[in-house]
């Protein structure tokens, strides 16, 4: 059943955000934050941030070895939320200028896969 859905069933409400934010690779997730609009970030953050603890608990309970494609999309979406949260919670109005400067900082290696 999970192969027919974009996200695990209990996170189906977040499916509208999969296409935009469930990115594979740390650099792609950081890049997505960089090329998003404030409206996109705020909508994503408002819908997903509150689900972060539940999503991590769900994924932790399954463990990496048991994650299917839908679980992996949920993982990638939450990792992307980490980047976007810095814009929403920390940078605020400084984000557009910050994004320009941040483009010089190239992510080359991460345990998750750069």
């Amino acid at each position: 059943m999970s192969t027919q859905t974009l996200l695990p069933e209990s996170f189906a409400a977040l499916e509208p955000y999969v296409a935009g934010w469930a990115r594979n690779g740390s650099a792609a997730r950081a890049g997505r934050r960089g090329n998003s609009t404030a409206e996109e970030r705020e909508a994503f953050y408002a819908a997903v941030a509150g689900e972060l603890p539940r999503a991590l608990d769900y994924l932790d309970a399954k463990g990496f070895a048991a994650l299917d494609d839908a679980d992996q999309r949920l993982m990638n979406m939450m990792l992307c939320l980490g980047h976007v949260a810095l814009a929403v919670e920390q940078q605020n109005d400084a984000e557009p200028r910050h994004a320009r400067d941040r483009a010089h900082m190239h992510i080359t290696h991460t345990p998750a896969g750069a």
Binding site: S26, L56, L81, G82, A85, E89, H104, H109
Partner: protein, 404 residues
């Protein structure tokens, strides 16, 4: 050790020995001075080039480019498990031996004429070698002094006056106590910058700028009794230096996604046994161009590689113990890398502005205050080495003149 509830800055009397004079600007942009630094500083110092976790098995190798000395290095874990460093240069006619940035091999073959070298750098075979006029033993890859402390790999291009451990003094033990010594993987980001390496490095050894350049990250960590988040202590050993980071005792707890990252990260750090380590607030600067911060949650190193008088490259790594064991750990690690990257982004932009200003030649001197003493110490150390090298060159020229 608990954080002090009332902050007392390090007094100038403790730092008088470093001097208080204005500092000439030319060494921060002059190409002629940079040429002297190549030899006086970089050829004569141990330099950090990697970590043992990049060489997990026999035959694992990394290639490192050190532009300051025009060198390409091949760093290899040999059959005996030891880490060795060679010039990445075929001894036949100088062709760069290895092109890949990293990998695993049992031998290294030059693509030009198939000279093949072992993991110990020895020449194993070369087609029609009988036609050469040299022995295989004479054709081993040129090797550099290479030593490891705290999991960190250092090389020396010349003849080191002391072992790496002796050179590091008390900082060797500190490195061994830090998580980096047990690290098995890392997150890394890299930046190029149009600025001198010392100017770039200096930004990261003074806290005076924090509240202005990092308002969102540093603002909450300042307080009325320490409005600039100055450190609680400075320490010096030979050309190296360190500071002990001050932490605001009544810092507001994080909220939102940041709070989740801190909670999940703290659980992982606790499981790794690195929470509350004695070195957690130590920020060590090893001469000439390497930093490491002991923080368990953001345990990062930062190397500023000089490329030219006005160009440098920064490599920042957050070192981790073990692969991501849980999705929560993966989330916390990616979040803390992104936090550090945000902060360094703000630094990079202002450093370039600083270089432009100095390189204009408008200023003859710049000024370091008491709480910028680590910057002054770096300047003093570099100047000492450059002046000694200049004197050596003059002495050599005079001797040659006398002989002629």
């Amino acid at each position: 050790m608990n954080s002090p509830t009332t902050f007392t800055p390090v007094g100038q009397d403790e730092l008088d020995w470093l001097g208080t004079d204005p500092v000439p600007t030319k060494p921060y942009y002059d190409p002629a001075w940079f040429e002297l630094e190549r030899e006086a500083v970089f050829r004569r110092s141990w330099q950090q080039v990697g970590h043992v976790c990049e060489l997990p098995e026999q035959g694992s190798f990394i290639r490192r480019e050190l532009e300051v000395l025009g060198a390409s290095l091949l760093i290899v874990r040999g059959k005996d498990g030891e880490v060795c460093a060679f010039h990445n240069v075929c001894t036949h006619r100088g062709t760069q031996l290895v092109d890949e940035a990293a990998g695993k091999r049992s031998t290294f073959s030059c693509p030009y004429h198939m000279w093949t070298f072992g993991l110990d750098g020895g020449l194993i075979s070369a087609p029609d070698f009988e036609s050469f006029h040299v022995t295989k033993a004479e054709c081993a890859l040129p090797q550099l002094a290479c030593e490891v402390v705290g999991g960190l790999i250092f090389v020396h291009f010349g003849k080191p006056e002391s072992s790496l451990r002796e050179w590091l003094g008390p900082y060797a033990n500190k490195l061994e106590m830090m998580p980096v010594a047990r690290a098995t993987t890392f997150s890394e980001y890299v930046y190029d910058i149009d600025a001198n390496w010392k100017l770039t490095y200096d930004n990261f050894q003074e806290n005076y700028h924090l509240r202005f350049i990092h308002p969102s990250a540093a603002g909450p960590s300042t307080s009325p009794d320490n409005p600039f988040a100055y450190p609680t202590a400075y320490d010096f050993h030979g050309p190296h230096r360190s500071q002990r980071i001050w932490t605001k005792p009544d810092m507001a707890p994080p909220t939102g996604v940041q709070a989740v990252a801190f909670q999940r990260g703290a659980i992982c750090a606790m499981a790794d046994g690195i929470l509350g380590a004695e070195t957690a607030k130590d920020y060590i600067g090893l001469f000439p161009n390497f930093f490491v911060f002991g923080s368990p949650m953001q345990h990062f190193s930062h190397t500023v590689y000089p490329i030219a008088a006005d160009k440098s490259r920064g490599v920042i790594r957050l070192y981790w113990i073990g692969e991501d064991e849980t999705p929560s750990e993966r989330f916390a690690r990616e979040y803390f890398m992104a936090v550090a990257r945000d902060v360094h982004t703000e630094d990079r932009a202002v450093i370039e502005r600083g270089h432009k200003g100095l390189a204009s030649g408008a200023l003859e001197y710049l000024h370091f205050q008491t709480q910028e003493s680590l910057c002054r110490h770096l300047f003093n150390m570099v100047s000492e080495k450059v002046e000694a090298y200049r004197a050596e060159l003059t002495g050599r020229a005079e001797q040659e003149g006398a002989r002629a």
